[in-house]
């Protein structure tokens, strides 16, 4: 009789435990489902707190949470939902240098398993809010940083241009003698190709993201070898140029591509001794292939070389190679790093004529 009772007791206890486990499994499944829906909603709304928070209530109600409230301050912004001030509410506050978050939930009750659900939901909500704020702050900081870099770059050139115009105008007003006039013209002759290259570079930068007007075909025939000779001469780069080819293209585009590539080698030559560059030009059937390599060292991530605003130089803008690749692609060509080559060896492919 006693043994039978003990058996019954164990069977009953086992059933109760199984029941509890099944219930807990059901609860956690339901909770997990809602949490995943919340994460999914946040992703769909692109981590925008202003949209995410007002749309969360329906999901919370599935977990017996009737209401919620929050006060969030970040980057001079405040998002608020008033506190209903009920007895059962649970809240959490996060204080950081850049932001403050107060988030609270009002559960239907705070008994049994609901206490556990309340804690988990509050934690998940605060993590999502904090993550969204951090993403937002990071995006804004990065945008501002990149904007200021771009501004510095353009300002540097714009200020030089303004100084150049000022000095030019002063000199024009002081050309009293023939000797002075001749000297002045000689200086201008010497610098005009450079001015033209600089303006090509700026035009290339400004046109970088612009749709090109492809109804008019370019008409300039560009001798690649002579263009590269001029650029290497300008940057005083010891070089070997093999091969010859010419293409029909917009001159400013081609100048912009090679000026950016050779400027990088020039910058290296200022920090390392005896940097030389080698350029091989292959005249293919419909394209021209130019391989540019140098003897300088490369420290950085080769895979990120064409990434916009990625620079291995301190204070570098990180726009040159991206711009060069962008222009080459818009012409129907490309620039890539040749694998298995020492340092950085770049291959530039350009079509001989651009399709209309």
């Amino acid at each position: 009789m006693t043994i039978e009772l003990i058996y019954h007791f164990f069977i009953l206890t086992g059933l109760v435990i199984i029941g509890v486990l099944i219930y807990l499994r059901f609860l956690s499944k339901r909770m997990m489902k809602v949490i995943l829906e919340m994460i999914d909603l946040n992703t769909k709304l692109e981590y925008d707190l202003h949209q995410f928070l007002p749309n969360t209530l329906n999901l919370l109600r599935k977990l017996k949470i009737d209401d919620y409230f929050y006060t969030i301050h970040y980057l001079n912004t405040t998002i608020e939902r008033s506190n209903p001030k009920r007895e059962k509410q649970v809240e959490k506050t996060i204080q950081r240098e850049d932001y403050q978050i107060t988030i609270g939930i009002v559960p239907r009750h705070s008994r049994g398993e609901q206490v556990f659900i309340n804690t988990v939901v509050l934690e998940i909500l605060s993590v999502l809010i904090e993550m969204n704020i951090l993403i937002h702050i990071k995006v804004i900081h990065e945008a501002l940083y990149k904007f200021s870099k771009l501004q510095t770059f353009l300002l540097h050139d714009a200020k030089n241009l303004a100084q150049f115009i000022g000095s030019l105008s002063y000199n024009i007003h002081h050309l009293e003698t023939h000797y002075k006039k001749d000297r002045f013209i000689n200086y201008l002759k010497e610098t005009l190709p450079v001015i033209s290259r600089s303006s090509a570079k700026i035009i290339g930068l400004l046109e970088m993201q612009k749709e090109t007007d492809d109804t008019l075909p370019p008409e300039n025939t560009i001798d690649i070898k002579s263009l590269l000779e001029n650029l290497t001469k300008h940057y005083k780069l010891p070089n070997t140029i093999n091969g010859q080819a010419s293409i029909i293209a917009e001159e400013y585009m081609v100048i912009s591509i090679f000026d950016n590539l050779l400027k990088n080698i020039y910058d290296k030559s200022l920090q390392e001794a005896s940097v030389t560059c080698r350029i091989d030009i292959d005249n293919l059937e419909s394209h021209v292939r130019i391989v540019i390599s140098d003897t300088g060292n490369f420290i950085g991530d080769r895979n990120r070389l064409f990434e916009l605003f990625y620079s291995t130089k301190k204070g570098g803008l990180g726009i040159g190679l991206h711009q060069a690749q962008n222009i080459a692609q818009s012409m129907g060509g490309d620039i890539r790093i040749l694998p298995d080559m020492p340092g950085v060896t770049l291959e530039v492919i350009l079509p001989k004529t651009q399709k209309v």
């Binding site: 303004a162 002063y170 200086y187 450079v194 200022l270 570098g316």
Partner: protein, 199 residues
Amino acid sequence: MPTLLLVEDDIALRKQIRFSLEENFTVLEAENRKEATELLRKNPIDVVILDLGLPPNEGTPEEGLIVLSSILNHYASKVIILTGQKTEGVALEAIKSGAFDYLLKPASMEKILFSVERAILFKDAEKELEKQGIKKISFDIEVGKGLQPLRDEADKHVILKVLKDTNFNVYQSAKILGVKRESLYYFLKKFGLKRTHDD
């Protein structure tokens, strides 16, 4: 004719400034730190017009400030900064280092010429005073910390200047300073003065 070094990476601008100056000065040109250092080493230069945004870091004043510090530590040239780097910190650093003038681009040619003429005037006056045995030494000191740090800084700068003038000849330096060689060695140890590669 006084010699002037123009350190500017923009060749078009450099040529225009050169044109305005070369009637009255011997003008040398450099477009980066390497060329500037080379020219400074080989030529006695009275005035340097220095752009701070030099390659490979045109967007920052870093390269220019290195050139500035190198000139002020090793040469007696007057330095006029002509730059587009408009931040208070940079201007403050340049002036603290001992730049003669700080002009923001775009600056009128009249302003540049005026500044160069003043720099030459100061340079000539200093040369004249040097002939009379008077040397100008400048250094920065935080006021309000008593007189001892001021005395130490003055001692250090005078000793360093004389050592540089005598090419770090301790015997000659001690003679010029009017102290015993042992005393000079004591100061060298106290201030941690050593001959650097540049010296």
